[in-house]
Subunit: 306 residues, 2 copies
Amino acid sequence: MACKVVQASDVAASFINEIKATIVSSNIKPLLVGFLANEDPAARMYAQWTAKTCKQTGIEFELRECPRTELEDKIVEANEDENVHGIMVYYPVFGGAQDQYIQNTVSYTKDVEGLCHKYRYNMYHNIRFLDKKETQKCIIPCTPLAAVKILEYIGAYNPILPYGNRLHGRIITIINRSEVVGRPLACLLANDGARVYSVDEFGIMEFHRGDGIKLSKHEVFETKITLTEALSKTDVVITGVPTEKYKLDTTLLKDGVIAINFSTFKNIDLEAIKQKASIFVPSIGKVTVSMLERNLLRLHQYQTFK
Amino acid sequence: MACKVVQASDVAASFINEIKATIVSSNIKPLLVGFLANEDPAARMYAQWTAKTCKQTGIEFELRECPRTELEDKIVEANEDENVHGIMVYYPVFGGAQDQYIQNTVSYTKDVEGLCHKYRYNMYHNIRFLDKKETQKCIIPCTPLAAVKILEYIGAYNPILPYGNRLHGRIITIINRSEVVGRPLACLLANDGARVYSVDEFGIMEFHRGDGIKLSKHEVFETKITLTEALSKTDVVITGVPTEKYKLDTTLLKDGVIAINFSTFKNIDLEAIKQKASIFVPSIGKVTVSMLERNLLRLHQYQTFK
C-alpha cells in the first residue's frame, strides 16, 4: 500500500527544536499558568501533559488549582501579574455560556489558547496582525493551528502560491463544526484559499472566498450537497467527532486523499484508510501542545519588547 | 387576601413617559436596528412587539432580516453606520457558543441588550461606569435590569440606605441561573447588598458581599442549603424556569414574601401565591422592553454628546 502514515511527533519535532533554541539563545524564562478548576480527570491529565511537555522544552509551567467560584478572580490576578506570560484554563469549568464568559476574561495579551473574542474575530475576518505595522501576528487557537501546520508539513499548502492563497484549488471536508476546533479550522483553511465543506450532525456548510478566491475573507453558505458528493471531490478530509461510535466511511473517499484525525477517538480506521489515502495523520495532539508553547513565546515577546 | 398584584404595565408606565418626554424635549431620533436571522416564530413575535412598542414611544425601529450566514457582516456594517444608535439580535441564531460569539461582535457603543463581554464583565465586577469621571453608566442586560426596577418600584430596595447597598439584609432566591438572566440578576442583587440563593437543576449557589457587605463586589459560594431551607428564609422569590411543568411550591414560602415571575410560563400559581405573598408580579416583559428603549437612549446620548 502506498499510504504514508505521518505521526504528529514527526511534525512537532521541528517546532520543539525551534522553541528550545529560542529559549536558550534569548535566555528567557516564559511562564505559563494553567488553571484547573474542575474535577474532570481528562482535564487533569491534559494539565499533567502540559507540565511534562513544557519541562521538556524549557518553559516554566505552574498549575494553579482553585474552586470554580474563585476562578475568575484568579484569572484577573494573573492578567495583572507581569511575571505571568501566558494563561490557559482547563475546560469545562461551568459548562455552556459561562465558560465562554471565562474565555473572555483572559487578557488577550496572555491568551495562549487564542480563545478570547479579539483573536476569534480577527481569525474569522482574516485579520492576521494585531498592529497596523504588521509586526505582531494574532494568536490562533492551538488545535486549528496544529492542523494548519500539519497541512503545511505534508504538502497540502502549495508554497509556490502567494502567502495567504496557498490552499487555492483544494477541496477540504471537515467533519466537526464546534466553536473550539471545527468552525475556526474551516475558516482558517477557507481564508487560505480552500473550498471547505464543514459537516456536523445538522448538515453541511460551505466556507470559501468565492470563485477565483476574489474575496479578501471567506464567506459561509448553506449548501444542499450530500456528504457522499462532498467526499467524492475532497482532497483533504479532517475528522474530529468526539465519540467512539463515529467511523468515517472510507469507501466514499477518492483515491490518493489526505486524511487527518484530530478526535481523541479513532474516527478513521487505519487498515481501511491505507487502501485509499496517500497520507494519513492519525492524531495531532503533540503538534497542538507545540502550538501552545509557540503562542506563549509569541506573547512573551510582545510583552517584553514593546 | 392581603396580596397586592402588581402588573408590569404599572411599573413600565413611568419609564415609558420618561422616554417619550426625553425624545420630544431633546428632539432626537434614536434608531434601533433589530436583526432577525432565524425562522423562529417566537423571535419574530418579539421583533413585532419591539416594533410596536418603539412606535408608541417615538423610537425609530428597523427590522433587518438576513440569512444567518450573513448576520455577522450585517452587524459589522451597522456597528460602523453612525445613523444606527442601537443594535439587537433575535436569538437563537446558530445556538450555543456561536451565538455568544455573535453577542460579542455587536459594538459595546450600540449594544442595547448589554450582552457583550465588556458590560457583562463590568456587571459581575460591580463596575458601574464606563469612564473614570463616572459620567457614563454601563449598560445592564434588559431582563435583569427590569427585575431590579420592579424591585425598586415595589419597595424591596430601601432608599434610606446608600445607593449600591439598598438590598442589605434582604434574602432573595432566584430560580434560574442562565447566562442571560438568572446569573446576571443574582450578581446585580448581590452587588446591591442582598444575600442571593441562585437555584438551577444542579444545585444552589450563594451570591453575596459577605457579612456586613464588607466586600466591594459579590462573591459566589457553593452551598449545601436545601431549597426548602432557602425558601423558608426568603424575602423575595423570583422564578424564571422556561417550562410549563415547573410550579413553585408556595407552601415553602414564608408569609408576606414578595414573588416575581419572569418566565414566559406561569411558574407561580396565582391563587396559591395570594395565600402567601404580600406582593406578586406575574410577568415582567413590558418593563424589559422599556429597559431596552432606556438603554438605547443612554447609548444615543453617549454617541451624540462626546
